[in-house]
């Protein structure tokens, strides 16, 4: 279990602070993928991730790599499926409505164990929704995305620097476990600019014994998700489930801050965690001992770590840019050991630090009074 209690992405930097460059989130994610050895990118324009596609449109041909603006998100993800089936490193990106269209192929790739990295720069829903930042695709991402029994690793950066790092991680996980991986960002992370260290990771290449390269001097290979015989499909599902358990054992990532003496813990990921971070500072100035628990992998969810945290006398406040999705996993994890309150905004609206602070004050008062939330 990797419990990365990390510093802010810019603080722990090795180089001089002045060597940092200002990059837009969408562009930094794209460049990180390029530096990670992405062979092919397929996409379709949608706000708020269009700059990612535009960056790829310029950079990939410069490098002699593949860029295709597809006819739809269906086209994009299936081009990705084809390219990834040959063992190529593939990135596909979209925003919420486009992700819904990609659910079908994601299910196929989970079934056929095809590695690919998918970026979702989330916007408000349901339906066409808004173009504002949101975290309302949590369920979609962590509960499988498409049809059938499967999970895919979901990585949730809270800063552009962390997004750059997690892009490389996403490719590593995809190839190590032969699985699609989702990088779950939001409109803020996509559109904002922040300084990043221009240092990128380049995951090493491996030979794949499953990649389709033409049956030249070896038996043919087939990448399939169809197993018509129920016995065969169950066997296949057992293989997948064993893999999911292995990922859950090995790949949990999270960050904690000031949890040691905390009476209250805010649980939040991505942009919501940054808002919670500011609220935590304000609360501490008022003498309310608040800590922050920030899941970085949303699946596998840091369930044992949260459960352990909940065994101390504490209450939790979950903050999301949604009507309440991750809060369900938090409640499942703590199994009633402590009260779990929720605060969220939807539609592209963001909770402000003062809003979260008000919730913390309320929770603090309730806990002190010995009441339920």
């Amino acid at each position: 279990m990797t419990a990365t209690v990390e510093r802010a992405p810019t603080e722990g930097a090795t180089g001089s602070k002045r060597s940092r460059i200002l990059m837009k989130g969408n562009e930094a994610i794209a460049e990180a993928a390029i530096q990670a050895g992405c062979d092919a990118y397929f996409g379709y324009p949608i706000t708020p991730q269009a700059e990612l596609l535009e960056w790829m449109a310029r950079r990939m041909p410069e490098l002699g790599r593949v860029f295709v603006q597809a006819e739809s998100e269906l086209g994009a993800i299936n081009m990705g499926l084809g390219a990834a089936a040959t063992g190529a490193r593939v990135l596909v990106s979209s925003s919420s409505p486009g992700m819904s269209l990609m659910a079908e192929a994601m299910s196929y790739m989970a079934g056929s164990q095809t590695p690919i990295v998918l970026v979702n720069v989330m916007r408000g829903g349901p339906g066409l929704g808004s173009i504002g930042p949101s975290q309302s695709d949590y369920f979609q991402a962590v509960k499988g995305h498409g049809h059938g029994d499967y999970k895919v690793p979901v990585l949730a950066p809270a800063s552009i620097g962390e997004a750059v790092e997690l892009v490389a991680t996403a490719f590593e996980l995809a190839e190590r476990y032969r699985t699609p991986v989702i990088l779950l960002a939001d409109g803020i992370l996509g559109q904002a600019m922040e300084p990043i260290e221009p240092q990128f990771r380049h995951p090493p290449r491996q030979e794949f014994d499953w990649a389709l390269t033409g049956a030249d001097g070896r038996p043919p290979r087939v990448l399939r998700s169809l197993h018509l015989l129920p016995e065969r499909l169950e066997e296949h599902n057992n293989v997948l489930q064993a893999k999911f358990r292995e990922i859950a054992r090995n790949e949990v990532r999270w960050a904690g801050e000031q949890l040691e003496d905390a009476d209250l813990a805010v649980v939040a990921y991505g942009t919501a965690a940054r808002i919670a971070h500011s609220a935590m500072r304000k609360a501490r100035q008022e003498g309310i001992r608040v800590g922050l628990f920030r899941p970085i992998t949303l699946w596998p969810f840091p369930e044992p770590q949260l459960r352990e945290l909940a065994s101390r006398p504490t209450a939790m406040l979950v903050v999301e840019l949604s009507a309440g999705q991750m809060v369900e996993d938090v409640r499942l994890a703590v199994e009633g050991r402590c009260p779990v309150a929720f605060h969220g905004r939807t539609g592209g609206m963001l909770p402000t630090p003062d809003e979260v602070l008000a919730e913390l004050r309320r929770l603090d008062a309730t806990v002190r009074a010995g009441g339920a939330t």
Binding site: G75, A83, T86, E104, V222, R224
Partner: protein, 263 residues
Amino acid sequence: MTAVATPPRVIASRPELLTDRSTHYCPGCGHGIIHRLLAEVLEELELAPRTIAVAPVGCAVFAYDYLQLDWVEAPHGRAPAVATGIRRVRPDSFVLTYQGDGDLAAIGTAEIIHAAGRGELITAIFVNNGIYGMTGGQMAPTTLLGQHTTSTPTGREAGAAGFPIPMTEMLAILPGVTYAARGSVSDPPHIGKTKAMIKRACKAQLDGAGFAIVEILSNCPVGWGMTAVESMEHLSEVEKVYPLGVLVDRSAPARQPAAAEGA
């Protein structure tokens, strides 16, 4: 000359690319013939070692059990997009899609039109038997007017169910399409012509000329409620709606192959 010393003359045998197993196709189904044609062409052009084929959803989903190639299964209708991804990252591969009429002419119209529009260097084999065989014989976009299916029980009527869609004619007008033809498996002469079309469509990809498609009119004895022989004879009726022949053969390359780095 002694008769004993003369080895028996082989006039037909199973192409090596075909596996030695019975297909799951219904008796009399045309898919078996088309699989064989493909195997023969790929062997004659020595393409099998670098072929990556895309399997559809529909009766031919199990094509990978019969043709000894590298295969990837595409979601329903998405084979041309999947093939695009493969061909772009592996410019040295030979990429083939095998799709039925539901796959190509209904759910996958966007993908086939845009792959053709981009002039992707892929070869599409489009098997048109005018019906959804695998799901029990429902109407396809290519079902003839008046034809009885389980979802047009009184016969396809244009007012309610629309007209048959001539996909290959539609594709043939796109400048990215270098070769488009329609053949049939109704009898040996037609089968021979269809094989020549498949070969030409494969060569178009090898020449880097553009997108190539061969539509093959095939039968579905079970779905059509006919004997195998009746269904083959009935293809002459189908050919009246979907005329056979080469629709377009643009010899000049439509586009340069995309610059791409191999995986």
